[in-house]
Amino acid sequence: MSNLVAAELRKARSIRTTWLLTAAALGFCALWTVVSVLTLDDPGQAGLALEQRVQNVYQMAQQAYLFALILGIFAMAGEHRHRTLTLTLLITPRRTRVLAAKLVACTLIGSAIAVAAVVVTAGVAMPLLAATGRPVIVPGIAAILAGSALSTVLYTTLGVGVGALVRSQVAGVAVAVVWFLYAEYLLVWLVPAVGRWLPGGAAKAVSGWNLGGGELLPVWAGGLLFVAYTLLVTVAAGAITARRDVA
């Protein structure tokens, strides 16, 4: 199994896409951190205490999630796109092992991106907050950064499941983007009560997002729910691919 994980890590390392997605993820974190510091006094946030608003700045470490998700989707769907799955399965005929190795490898890659995202976010936030005369350190920052990092890792892993299920890079990314950027917001807008039970809401709970109303699940419950979504998608993909002919 460790051979397979090592091979998956090498696969990721040897193509530029991995590095470009990582750079984009970190760039987004930096960008959103700057934006959130600049909009700290916006009327929209007026209901929140300064402490909570500063916490939300650090929460921007979560903004790596979309690229982490795409990276996971590419890792699995790319095998179909470039027809490398045949060789992968010739080396490892047991398909569940291939899927498991992808999950483990992408969790590791996601962890590396998550740690880098935390460093970038804190590195941008701290001097900016200090320069604009806001408190740099407020209670709960460590938990927020840890939660944001965890949510990035979880999204990478979810991407593998989505990629395995959808099997097309383009369709996988389209599904993910439409869901997490539009569909879920629309659903929450229509039926606010379901928000906390949806994947995006679960991930926000993990990353300690302050919505002012406390309508998200506790961190642990959000984490478990997100992992449950990932398992659901991955097990469904595994069940479908286990017997499918590779032609």
Partner: protein, 239 residues
């Protein structure tokens, strides 16, 4: 001694019977040519031997074991399939190193096989820029990586220039000469005539003939005529 054994193998795709109760063997020390018209079921059969396509009924084994049950299968069987996929952004060397890592082979094997297929000069280049012939060489290098006892190749000559075809023929002959088992599909009779010791001829998923090529060639008007006679009944059936 590693023999490929196909026994009462069948595969249906919906109502289409692609392979129909097919049985044959390919043994060590010989090159077995796997012949048949387009759509005869050659590729499906090879993919069933390699565990990529699940048979409807029957079995296919290598050395008595189904492919999927072989421990480190690429150290026993090397395969070159028609659609050998490479990530276009990955270099030839990285491609082979990924396979080495996954199969637990020493990375030095990558260099060995690159040398063997004469691709050392382009090892650090991305596969996306390779010609068809270079891809085919890389596919063969990948098949040789695990130092297997068996080679299974699906139309490996397609797209190779005459020099490449000559090179491939020499490589497969040497492989069989070292007691390796080679099963190679083709629809180019001239190619097979110069390469194979034995032939297995199928059409519409069924076995038409299995035997020594020189016996087939010696009877009557030569190998090509013998093949055409064998497959004629099938072709007239279709009309």
């Amino acid at each position: 001694m590693t023999t490929i054994a196909v026994s009462h193998l069948s595969k249906s795709f919906g109502s289409v019977r692609a392979v129909d109760d097919l049985s044959f063997t390919a043994g060590p020390g010989t090159v077995t040519g796997f012949l048949g018209p387009n759509g005869a079921g050659k590729t499906t059969t090879l993919r069933m031997i390699l565990g990529l396509v699940r048979p409807s009924t029957g079995t296919a084994t290598v050395g008595g074991i189904p492919y999927a049950a072989i421990d480190r299968p690429i150290a026993t069987v090397g395969a070159v399939l028609e659609d050998s996929g490479f990530h276009p952004r990955r270099t030839a060397r990285d491609h082979l190193l990924v396979v080495c890592a996954a199969a637990g082979l020493p990375p030095t094997r990558a260099i060995d096989v690159l040398r063997e297929v004469d691709l050392m000069a382009v090892a650090a280049r991305r596969v996306g820029g390779f010609s068809h012939g270079m891809r085919q060489r890389l596919a063969i290098a990948t098949a040789l990586l695990g130092a297997p006892a068996v080679l299974i190749l699906d139309e490996p000559g397609t797209g190779l220039d005459p020099e490449g075809v000559h090179w491939l023929r020499g490589l497969l002959r040497r492989f069989a000469g070292r007691d390796g088992t080679v099963l190679v599909s083709s629809h180019v009779l001239a190619e097979v005539e110069h390469l194979a010791d034995r032939v297995v001829v199928i059409a519409r998923g069924r076995l038409l003939h299995a035997g020594w090529l020189r016996e087939m060639a010696a009877a009557g008007a030569g190998f090509e005529q013998a093949y055409l006679d064998l497959t004629r009944a099938q072709r007239e059936d279709v009309r």
